[in-house]
């Protein structure tokens, strides 16, 4: 557990000093929202509610891919990833620390994106903020688990920027479907769709357990 906490602290400290990841993710998701705003024809409130869940998660997943790609690229400098792999602990804790740091950073970007999105699409997200935060957190847990595991795999490949989304997006289909459906339910009725939340919980649990246990082998050369 100490290893995970040490890595969480290290990732957040380096991000706080450089802010390269969070700024890139925030600017990118802002641009995605702006492009979607201008790309879609004029809407009424009903149509905006219908489209909003999918569009919001498009912005979130693009920002996540950008951030998760950077999470391990930073470990390539001075071969720091090998330095982590040498630690005499279960390497699952390394996964946990990296994934937790990505979750925190992605959460900050998602909060800002939600505000921009609500303004751009004239959707009242404030009324459902607590429930939406739960859905977004559950979706992000799945994204960060898969992204961290596959980020560690793809970082040593030649086409790592392309490889991560290619590997990650197919696996995230159930997470994204459930997250979009749960968000749609919130916007339509203001209540959580438990079937979608249950799917998120199950997929998150599977992804975190598989990633934790397989990280020992992922970091081997």
């Amino acid at each position: 557990m100490n290893v995970a906490l040490a890595i969480l602290w290290k990732d957040l400290a380096t991000e706080w000093r450089g802010r390269d990841r969070v700024v890139a993710m925030a600017v990118f998701s802002f641009l995605v929202v702006v492009v979607l705003h201008f790309a879609l024809p004029a809407r009424d409130a009903e149509e905006a509610r219908r489209l909003a869940p999918g569009l919001l998660w498009v912005a979130y997943i693009f920002a996540a891919i950008l951030g998760l790609n950077r999470a391990f690229a930073l470990e390539l400098e001075n071969e720091a990833l090998a330095g982590l792999a040498l630690a005499p602990a279960d390497r699952g804790w390394i996964f946990l620390g990296k994934a937790a740091a990505s979750f925190v950073i992605l959460g900050a970007v998602q909060a800002v994106t939600a505000v921009v999105f609500a303004l751009a699409f004239d959707v009242d997200l404030a009324a459902i903020a607590p429930s939406l935060a739960i859905v977004v957190a559950l979706g992000s847990l799945g994204i960060c688990a898969v992204g961290t595991l596959l980020g560690a795999v793809s970082v040593r490949t030649r086409y790592r920027e392309v490889m991560l989304p290619l590997l990650m997006l197919p696996l995230l289909v159930p997470v994204l479907l459930a997250a979009v459906d749960a968000t749609a339910g919130l916007l339509e009725t203001g209540t959580l769709r438990w079937r979608s939340v249950q799917l998120l919980l199950v997929t998150d649990a599977v992804f975190w357990i598989v990633s934790f246990t397989s990280f020992e082998y992922v970091l081997d050369e």
Binding site: A6, K10, E79, A80
Partner: protein, 243 residues
């Protein structure tokens, strides 16, 4: 020797280590042992397999065949986590985070290794390496020599019984190199087994209690338990290169 006297187990032993990267054979069956308090110098031309050997010994790379033993007193041979904790590895790269200070890098490494008091250990190592005055500076601003000293401190943060160093003299000025050489000797004198990969025949002759010459993944020369002088090593190198 009295009858029944036991031979101490080596601190580090390699048995039949082989490593292939696709069709490329990096190591083709390497065996050796290193006792506590001894320095093994591993020499060889570029591409001989020296760095691959060290990465296998450190637990970073799995061998295609053979295995490594790092002491037996724990009764847990083959426990990779336990074995990683017995090794201090200083590689070509420094493993440092440029935006963290020297002290933060060491405290972070100490926490990875579960050191009881990370801040106290970091302070001790900074003092030993003469880096206390610049401990709060970002590691990214360090010169090559300062970064190398910090990398060595990082490798020793958990006080390992086996120390592996890959070309540690690269980029050091003569004063720093002398200081590092004395430091390596002191490590061995304090009971650690040291494996030193180097191109420098003179350094190998001065520091190594035993020397291995690795050529194309095989041991081409082994000085055995005796120290080899630079002339002997140079002759072995020339002979291996000509073969």
């Amino acid at each position: 020797m009295s009858q029944g006297a036991s031979v101490p187990a080596p601190a580090l032993a390699a048995y039949g280590l082989a490593k292939r990267f696709g069709p490329v054979v990096a190591l083709a069956g390497v065996d050796f042992t290193v006792a506590a308090g001894r320095v093994l110098a591993v020499l060889g031309p570029n591409g001989a397999g020296k760095s691959t050997l060290l990465r296998i010994l450190a637990g970073l790379t799995r061998p295609s065949a053979g295995h490594v033993s790092l002491g037996t007193e724990s009764g847990r041979p083959g426990d990779r986590r336990h074995e990683r904790g017995r090794v201090g590895y200083v590689g070509h790269a420094t493993f440092l985070y440029p935006s963290l200070s020297a002290r933060e890098n060491l405290v972070f490494a100490a926490r990875l290794y579960g050191v009881a008091d990370p801040r106290a250990r970091a302070a001790t190592l900074l003092a030993e390496q003469g880096l206390t005055a610049i401990a709060e500076r970002a590691a990214g601003s360090f010169s090559r020599g300062q970064a190398q000293r910090l990398a060595i401190a990082r490798g020793l943060v958990h006080d390992p019984p086996v120390v592996l160093l890959d070309e540690p003299f690269t980029g050091l000025d003569p004063t720093s190199a002398d200081r590092l050489g004395a430091g390596l000797r002191a490590l061995a004198d304090s009971g650690r087994a040291v494996v030193l990969v180097t191109h420098d025949l003179a350094q190998a002759a001065v520091l190594g209690d035993r020397a291995l010459l690795l050529v194309r993944g095989r041991i081409a020369f082994d000085s055995g338990p005796t120290r080899a002088d630079a002339g002997t090593l140079a002759a072995a190198w020339r002979e291996a290169a000509a073969a």
